[in-house]
């Protein structure tokens, strides 16, 4: 018996629209109105400035460990911007820009990274899941949300974020497989930022692209220049439209780069070279988008001061937050507090009232975390 090639043959495309100098491939222009382009740039700039500020807040001991997004603004905003408020967004732990676009107040994110669970509570009408920390485990949730939406016959698309490291986890593969079999309206957005803490992509997978992993599960996969907000937007719009039309899931691989640390507890100089970082800095998503907007006369003056002011106001609100009431830890464990937990709550309440042992003195500083200065200023 001869060996016969099987049909269909698979292909994976790469999409790029704006080059590193901000030159547009007009044949591929997604045709966004000027106001939308300006809104996207403002969101990218806000995300960048906030990111830098959040790293400083951690260094000062005002917040805890934080995972910066610097360099990934285009991947996040180009994708999230195609969603409707009635769609669902499922983040991992490095989606500050997407979350702010979806309406998370900055002070809430600061609260989250300062150890207050209140910062992870979506607003009552907000269709976002909270930050998920265990890598890739949020992807099956996205598939379940999409199944439920389809079951209820709701006009809803789910977008889920993860990184290159997540594609080695079983949950990534299980989620894509279930999504393919169930043919549900979900868009998987991989931010391939080249590094999973210290492990580079070539040690993460032997596949040439992450996009091609979709093909094994019977769904389309596309690779885009993740530092090109227009390319990410175009690919995401196509995927979301396909999902909305009942044509099933898509995997989008955004090729980008984490310009900063993995988290504030990490020192990347240990595992990657300054030359590599410099090379990616030349492909910075903000620089090229700004150059493009400048040519189109859409770049606003004083934008930086504007976003800085917005951030400063949010930080002031964050710092005015009342100290965490320890008893809240019992409020959201079960719908109704079981007797044993009720007793534990009463014991703690009594301890707190009497100021007995177990209660940390109000002004006693916590020991410094990795990446923080040891002394308070």
């Amino acid at each position: 018996m001869p060996r016969t090639p099987l049909e269909p043959r698979f292909t994976v495309e790469y999409l790029s629209i704006l080059d590193a100098e901000g030159n547009l491939d007009s044949a591929l222009d997604p045709g966004l109105p000027g106001a939308e382009l300006k809104r996207l740039y403002r969101a990218m700039l806000l995300a960048r400035r906030l990111d830098e500020r959040m790293v400083r807040l951690q260094r000062q001991g005002r917040t805890g460990t934080f995972a910066p997004i610097k360099g990934q603004e285009a991947s996040q905003l180009g994708s999230v911007a195609v969603l409707r408020p009635t769609d669902w967004m499922v983040p991992s732990f490095r989606e500050t820009a997407s979350m702010i676009w979806r309406g998370w107040p900055i002070e809430k994110l600061l609260l989250f990274f300062a150890g207050h669970l209140e910062g992870g509570q979506p607003a009552p009408d907000q269709r976002d899941l909270p930050i998920t920390i265990p890598v890739s485990t949020q992807l099956p949730h996205a598939v379940g949300l999409a199944y439920a939406a389809q079951y209820r016959d709701d006009d809803v698309v789910v977008m889920a974020y993860f990184g290159d490291g997540a594609t080695s986890e079983g949950d990534f593969h299980e989620a894509l497989n279930f999504a393919g079999v169930w043919h549900v309206p979900v868009v998987f957005v991989c931010q391939n930022n080249q590094w999973a803490i210290s492990v580079p992509l070539k040690k993460q997978t032997n596949s040439k692209t992450i996009a091609q992993k979709a093909l094994a599960y019977g769904l389309p996969g596309i690779q885009v220049d993740g530092n090109d907000v227009l390319a990410v937007y175009a690919a995401s719009r196509e995927a979301v439209e396909r999902a909305r039309a009942g044509e099933g899931p898509t995997l989008i691989e955004c090729v980008t780069y984490r310009l900063g640390v993995h988290t504030t507890a990490d020192d990347p100089t240990k595992y990657r070279t300054a030359e590599e970082v410099a090379e990616w800095e030349r492909k910075d998503p903000l620089t090229r988008f700004a150059a493009y907007l400048k040519k189109k006369r859409l770049l606003e003056d004083g934008l930086e001061a504007q976003v800085d002011e917005e951030i400063a106001a949010a930080i002031a609100r964050f710092e005015a937050t009342a100290p965490a009431d320890p008893l809240v830890m019992f409020d959201h464990v079960y719908a109704e507090l079981p007797p044993e937990l009720k007793a534990q709550r009463e014991t703690l309440a009594e301890t707190l009232r009497s100021g007995e042992p177990g209660r940390r003195e109000k002004h006693e500083p916590s020991p410094p975390m990795r990446g923080q200065r040891s002394g308070r200023r």
Partner: protein
């Protein structure tokens, strides 16, 4: 009222809850056309169709993980993990997510789902098909852990678990599936999760058991009555977490002696928590150390050696006599 075994009783609960609430879905491996490897989901597929009775791909983590997503959306999935021994492939979804979304989202979301798992030994099955590992789930804040001991409470507790707003792990002992029949009311019936039952009353000793071990405890109580003239309180715990400490403490305050029987390995098992609760609540009433009769701290030894591992009536009676003679 019909005489049903545990399989049929659980099936009745699923049928009626799906009838009652269109948000209830069933998902798992072979739960649809095949009706489940133990037939607990028989005929559901024919009655409610493949959108509501989902033959999923073979992947425990995604069965639980997608169910978490469905529950976050407002549906009420009832997942079947074919054998509890395979649940370690979805343990992270249970511990990291099902149990925590209410807390993580500060009440914005909750996860009303049931995770059914056949468990327990004595059925001449292989490794991973014979273990009793309820302690892992009982230890997780945010989760409820329920183990019925027969058809009537099995049906009522499963219906209650499906209606519960919190995630429930629901163990079904394989040796009980066809062990006996009981009268089960035709009309829907529920029982409170978090309540133990005193199934027979006595003054001299408290026997605490659940699931497949309840029958062993009851037979031990009968032997003690007949051969020693000793009368026992036998407590069917039914909900491992949250544990009904009050019922156990009340009983031991009366009897002064307790023997705890479970099929999970001894060390750090649920019996330790029961014993600690007795120490907290009935210390001054105790006449003897609290005894535990359990499997040994060994991995499943194979069914050729299982009899020597799983507690039986003789071991329980022996422990009871030592306690009584102290």
């Amino acid at each position: 009222m019909a005489k049903l075994n545990l399989v049929k009783a659980l099936n009745l609960a699923l049928m009626q809850e799906m009838q009652r609430d269109p948000d209830v879905l069933v998902i798992g491996e072979d739960v649809g056309v095949d009706g489940g490897v133990f037939r607990v989901t028989e005929d559901l597929h024919r009655t409610y169709g493949s959108k509501r009775v989902i033959d999923s791909p073979l992947a425990e983590s995604a069965i639980i993980g997608t169910s978490v997503g469905m529950a976050l959306y407002g549906l009420k999935p009832v997942c079947e993990i074919q054998f509890s021994g395979f649940a370690f492939q979805c343990f992270h979804q249970i511990e990291n997510h099902a149990a925590r979304y209410r807390n993580r989202s500060q009440g914005r979301f909750h996860v009303p789902m049931v995770m059914r798992m056949p468990y327990g030994g004595g059925v001449r099955a292989l490794e991973h098909h014979s273990e009793s590992e309820e302690q892992f789930y009982a230890h997780i804040p945010g989760l409820k852990m329920v183990i019925p001991s027969g058809p009537r409470n099995g049906r009522a507790l499963l219906a209650a678990a499906i209606r519960d707003p919190d995630p429930v792990v629901f163990f079904e002992h394989k040796a009980l599936y066809h062990a006996h029949k009981e009268d089960v009311p035709d009309e829907p019936e529920t029982m409170d999760i978090g309540r133990a039952q005193v199934v027979s009353e006595g003054d001299d000793l408290t026997l605490v058991a659940w699931g497949g071990m309840l029958r062993v405890a009851r037979e031990a109580a009968e032997t003690l009555e007949q051969e020693d003239g000793v009368s026992c309180d036998v407590i069917d715990v039914l909900t491992i977490a949250p544990l009904d400490r009050e019922t156990i403490v009340r009983s031991v305050s009366k009897t002064g002696r307790a023997v705890i029987v479970h099929e999970a390995p001894r060390s750090f098992g649920p019996g330790a928590e029961v014993a600690a609760s007795i120490m907290d609540g009935a210390f001054l009433s105790l006449e003897a150390p609290i005894a535990r009769v359990t499997t040994h701290d060994v991995p499943f030894p194979g069914f050729a050696r299982e009899k020597a591992n799983v507690p039986d009536v003789a071991r329980v009676v022996g422990a009871a006599r030592e306690t009584l003679a102290f």
